[in-house]
């Protein structure tokens, strides 16, 4: 295990710990705070203002006022795009600080944040900056002496409830399209990882995003999160997190003002590896898909289906290669896996490992916590996994991979689909027909063929089934923040219809 390692990167001073409402950092109405903990050391990083219903009310009021009376929705798309572009430039200037905050707050590997998550977030923001002036309605072909057109209008005040696994990335993914659409918003970061969102909100203000357009309320789900999803003056809520909480968000929306909801929830995504592949590259694909971000990844390939012809070779090689993954301090240059985000996650992952053992799966490698302190867990691989074992049905959200043997393409499809989730899937094959058949057959929002985690700003993704609904990224990710209005009027003596 790589030891605590602070020499190469300066741990940033924590500048922002209060709620960000109407362009100002303010204490919570109650005056309460909560601790955010460094998962490397289990020690407190900072006391953060704890937002609750009253704070959400203030944030919504600011957002409502900014939407109803402020300049943001009244700017042209190109003017909004320019401000978003400035925001991205500032984000890039602060990449070290943002990545370091996520590393200490959520245990994320610093170099991944710096070289992958934040640059990808920047590309998404630039994508939506460029989309802000390309929101096109249609003119319509009506069946009477009428003419009509559609206007795509910003939906209004949006609530974003974001998780702790990609704290800054999710902030960009949610705010980017909503800003481009002309919405105003209240963001609730996860209580485990509130720091980077506060910094980014500050940067957005510096870039020229008007006060009240982005408000950040740090706090807990049952209090601040629930206040957002049940708020009567929020027009749409976008939630990324667990399927259980997604259900609560949707219920709250239903019992309050029927606000529109988009949910990006859990997954139990299959990676299906066929006999014709190069086994070494398939092993690397599986390790990347299964253990990226310490398995705290909704699209994690937590079920690896391997065809019987290469199964033994695959198992031998993945056992060997997984031992080469260095777990340790997120700032250590050798580290590829940091600690789990918090104690609850850590304990939950360990309990699933116990379930796996108890239910008779073979522990191929890993299975133990590691290090003296902090929430570190070894990359863990089970073989001989049956489809009905808990480790094969539940989202573990940790570095625990199930390797499952299959014989035929039909069997692989059926077993891959026999899950309540449908977020992502991977296919490894050289065969065109297999690739086409499987990609159309899997009920999931994104299919990666001979790649995994190949996210792109232009490529929408989201869930089938209980992985949620609505899409992030691409133009689809923008439309959910727009209302469609049809405008119809009689037309007299038109030379054509």
């Amino acid at each position: 295990m790589a030891e605590i390692h602070n020499s190469s990167v300066k741990i940033p001073k924590i500048k922002f710990t209060k709620l960000f409402i109407n362009g100002e950092f303010v204490d919570s109405v109650s005056g309460k705070t909560f601790e955010t903990i460094d998962p490397r050391t289990e020690e407190k990083i900072a006391d953060i203002a704890e937002g609750d219903k009253d704070d959400v009310d203030l944030a919504v009021k600011a957002a409502r006022d900014a939407f109803d009376h402020g300049p943001w929705p009244r700017l042209s798309g190109s003017e909004r795009g320019r401000i978003i572009m400035k925001f991205v430039d500032l984000v890039e200037e602060h990449v070290d600080e943002i990545a370091a905050l996520d590393a200490i707050d959520a245990g994320k590997v610093f170099s991944h944040g710096k070289n992958r998550e934040v640059p990808y977030g920047a590309s998404v923001l630039r994508y939506y900056a460029g989309a802000a002036d390309k929101i096109h309605g249609n003119t319509l072909k009506l069946s009477n002496q009428l003419q009509g057109y559609t206007l795509y209008e910003p939906i209004g005040v949006v609530g974003h409830i974001i998780p702790w696994n990609f704290p800054s990335g999710m902030f960009f993914f949610k705010t980017g399209p909503a800003l481009a659409a002309g919405c105003t918003m209240v963001v609730k970061p996860a209580e485990q990882s509130p720091l980077s969102a506060l910094l980014c909100a500050h940067l957005a203000k510096l870039a020229g995003v008007p006060d009240g357009v982005i408000n950040v309320v740090t706090g807990y789900g049952p209090t601040a999160g629930a206040a957002i999803s049940s708020h009567m003056d929020i027009d749409s809520v976008s939630f990324t997190g667990s399927t259980e909480v997604g259900r609560l968000v949707m219920q709250a929306a239903a019992t309050s003002n029927l606000k529109s909801v988009s949910l990006e929830l859990g997954g139990k995504s299959p990676l299906i590896i066929f006999d014709d592949v190069d086994v070494d590259s398939a092993v690397n694909l599986a390790l990347m898909g299964g253990f990226a971000n310490k398995g705290e990844y909704c699209v994690c390939s937590s079920r690896i289906f391997v065809q019987e012809g290469i199964y033994d070779e695959f198992v031998t090689k993945i056992a060997r290669n997984s031992k080469g993954l260095t777990v340790g301090d997120p700032f250590h240059p050798a580290t590829v896996q940091g600690p789990q985000a918090d104690k609850a996650q850590y304990e939950k992952v360990l309990s699933y490992i116990e379930h796996g053992k108890r239910q008779g799966a073979t522990l191929l490698t890993g299975g133990n916590p590691c290090g003296e302190k902090g929430y570190y867990i070894e990359p863990t691989i089970f073989t001989d996994v049956k489809d009905d074992m808990l480790i094969a049905t539940d989202e573990i959200f940790g570095p625990v991979m199930c390797v499952i043997k299959f014989k035929t393409i039909e069997e692989a499809i059926a077993r891959a689909n026999s899950t309540r989730y449908g977020l992502a899937a991977g296919i490894a094959t050289k065969d065109l027909n297999i690739a086409n058949t499987v990609s159309r057959s899997i009920r999931a929002g994104i299919i990666w063929i001979n790649c995994y985690l190949a996210f792109d700003a232009d490529s929408p993704y989201g869930g089938y089934k209980m992985s949620g609904f609505g899409r992030e990224f691409g133009m689809d990710g923008l439309y959910k923040y727009l209302q469609v209005k049809s405008v119809v009027t009689p037309v007299h003596n038109s030379p054509w219809l």
Binding site: R74, S76, Y127, H136, P495, W496
Partner: protein, 530 residues
């Protein structure tokens, strides 16, 4: 701070930038005063680039020849510019071909391409003053208008297409039978582009922006009257990271360099903006050579229709701007001002008064609204049309003469009692000559407005919803502006009906000009659904 900046953005966003610069008050000489033009003001820029830009290098013409580019304020030389001909076009096309077939430009990610376009826009913004000065000097347009209108529109257009680069979407298609069908929108290849002298920079942006965003390479021929600004900005483009050979600039004449480009066997796409006569030649050359697809944006005789319910003062101002902007050298100029008979007399009086107030003078002087025409040929042609107007019996309300005694300045000219069959009502004059025609009812004005071989644009000035709807649908023109004119945002497609051209530029539509569409059909075995 932020809120203040925002509100200033807001207050300006309701008017087109093009019209905002018009009608500034000023105390300096107007055309009706007898004040002679003073010595020309020295432009605040040096001419640094006069050679052809081929494969990332400034090079002399193969022949070694140059041509003079002249200052329209005086007819004097600004600079001698390398004169491109067939051999230079061949060199430029072969650089563009190599850059397309082997270079990084079509192979880098769209996001990377968009970053280079954005960096270019930033550099142009940083050098806006020099670029605007070159533009004003070479073309004769007021420096303030180049600064406030053309440069911002140019920058905006490149930023707009930077945003398209990573959103060029084909379709997946459900066809009959067990097939997976998708369309790939691929860059078309080497684009040849020929641009005019009236908006050298803006035309550059309309052509180069979408072509490069789609991943093509380009050979651009500028107008011989105005070669300078394109060379300057293209230098900046390379500083922004554009690989060599992606954008090649050939200065020179139409019959030599232009024809070589239009008839080149290795140019995959041609886009031309200019006169209808030349457009016909260009289309013919494309047909005779390799059948390259052609986008044409040609002449116009656009109607500006002022209905009886219009606010006359506003209509007068807008009709004035619609015709006189850029010395009347706009393909979409509102050059037939149709005015309803009930407000006709009042309109004439006020249009005449507005023309009399128009500030003509050195383009580098503050407050000047109108500079010289671009060259002596245009100058002579316009004066000939003015004589024809008088001879055919139209009433010359004001103007009609050259302005001053030096350079190519012409007085803002207004004709009333213009009849449909007069030359000044039929031909594209491309000068500061407003023709006002009287009409009685909607059907009549639609019929008369459409009785033209052109169909580029139209303006409708009315508060009546039904009239507006009726006219917008009935007018045969590529753009109809209602209660506005010359709104040229990058997102709005522009192009002609009839002999005003083919295809549309700007907006999402211009992407189609620079993309090949490939249908990919793959047989499916055991598909889960179709």
């Amino acid at each position: 701070m932020a809120a203040r900046r925002m509100s200033s953005l807001l207050s300006s966003s309701y008017a087109s930038p093009l019209l905002r610069s018009l009608g500034r008050g000023s105390s300096i000489s107007r055309f009706s005063t007898a004040a002679a033009l003073e010595e020309p003001i020295t432009p605040p820029v040096k001419v640094e680039y006069t050679k052809l830009l081929i494969n990332g290098q400034f090079v002399d013409a193969a022949s070694g020849k140059t041509f003079p580019t002249l200052d329209p304020r005086t007819g004097q030389l600004i600079a001698n510019v390398a004169e491109g001909d067939i051999e230079d076009v061949n060199r430029a096309v072969s650089a563009a071909r190599k850059a397309f077939d082997e270079g990084p430009w079509p192979r880098m990610t769209a996001y990377e391409r968009s970053r280079i376009l954005l960096r270019f826009a930033d550099l142009v913004e940083q050098h806006a003053d020099e670029i605007a000065a070159l533009e004003a000097w070479d073309n004769g347009k007021p420096y303030e208008q180049a600064t406030s209108d053309e440069i911002p529109l140019f920058i905006r257009l490149f930023r707009y297409y930077a945003g398209w680069a990573d959103k060029i979407h084909g379709l997946t298609i459900q066809a009959d039978g067990p097939h997976h069908v998708e369309t790939l929108h691929e860059p078309i290849g080497v684009a040849g582009q020929i641009i005019p002298w009236n908006f050298p920079l803006l035309m550059y942006s309309w052509k180069v922006g979408p072509a490069l965003a789609c991943g093509n390479t380009v050979v651009l021929k500028t107008a011989e009257q105005t070669p300078l600004s394109a060379l300057y900005v293209s230098k900046l483009f390379h500083e922004a990271g554009l690989p060599p050979g992606v954008l090649n600039i050939v200065s020179g004449y139409g019959p030599s360099a232009g024809a070589a480009l239009a008839s080149h066997m290795d140019v995959d796409k041609l886009a031309f903006t200019g006169s209808t006569e030349t457009g016909k030649i260009v289309l013919g050359l494309a047909a005779k050579s390799n059948l390259k697809p052609v986008t044409l944006e040609l002449g116009g005789k656009s109607p500006f229709i002022v209905c009886e319910d219009a606010n006359v003062d506003e209509a007068v101002d807008l009709a004035h701007a619609a015709l006189f902007y850029n010395q009347g050298q706009c393909c979409c100029a509102g050059s037939r001002t149709f005015v309803h008979e009930r407000i006709y007399d009042e309109f004439i009086e006020k249009a005449k008064a507005r023309a009399l107030k128009r500030v003509v003078g050195d383009p580098f002087r503050k407050g000047v609204e109108q500079g010289p025409q671009v060259d002596s040929e245009q100058f002579d042609k316009i004066l000939k049309y003015i004589r024809s107007g008088v001879d055919s019996g139209a009433t010359l309300e004001t103007g009609g003469q050259r302005f001053g005694s030096n350079g190519y300045y012409i007085q803002p000219t207004v004709f009333s009692n213009v009849q449909d069959d007069m030359l000044i009502a039929k031909d594209e004059i491309f000068g500061p000559v407003q023709s006002i025609l009287k009409f009685k009812d909607t059907d009549e004005v639609i019929r008369r407005a459409n009785a033209s071989p052109f169909g580029l644009a139209a303006g409708v000035f009315t508060q009546n919803l039904d009239t507006a709807n009726r006219m917008t649908r009935a007018l045969k023109a590529g753009t109809v502006w209602v209660n506005c004119f010359d709104v040229f945002d990058a997102a709005i497609p522009f192009g002609g009906y009839k002999m005003s051209g083919h295809g549309r530029e700007k907006g999402i539509y211009s992407l189609q000009n620079y993309l090949q569409i490939k249908a990919v059909v793959t047989r499916l075995k055991n598909p889960a659904w179709l």
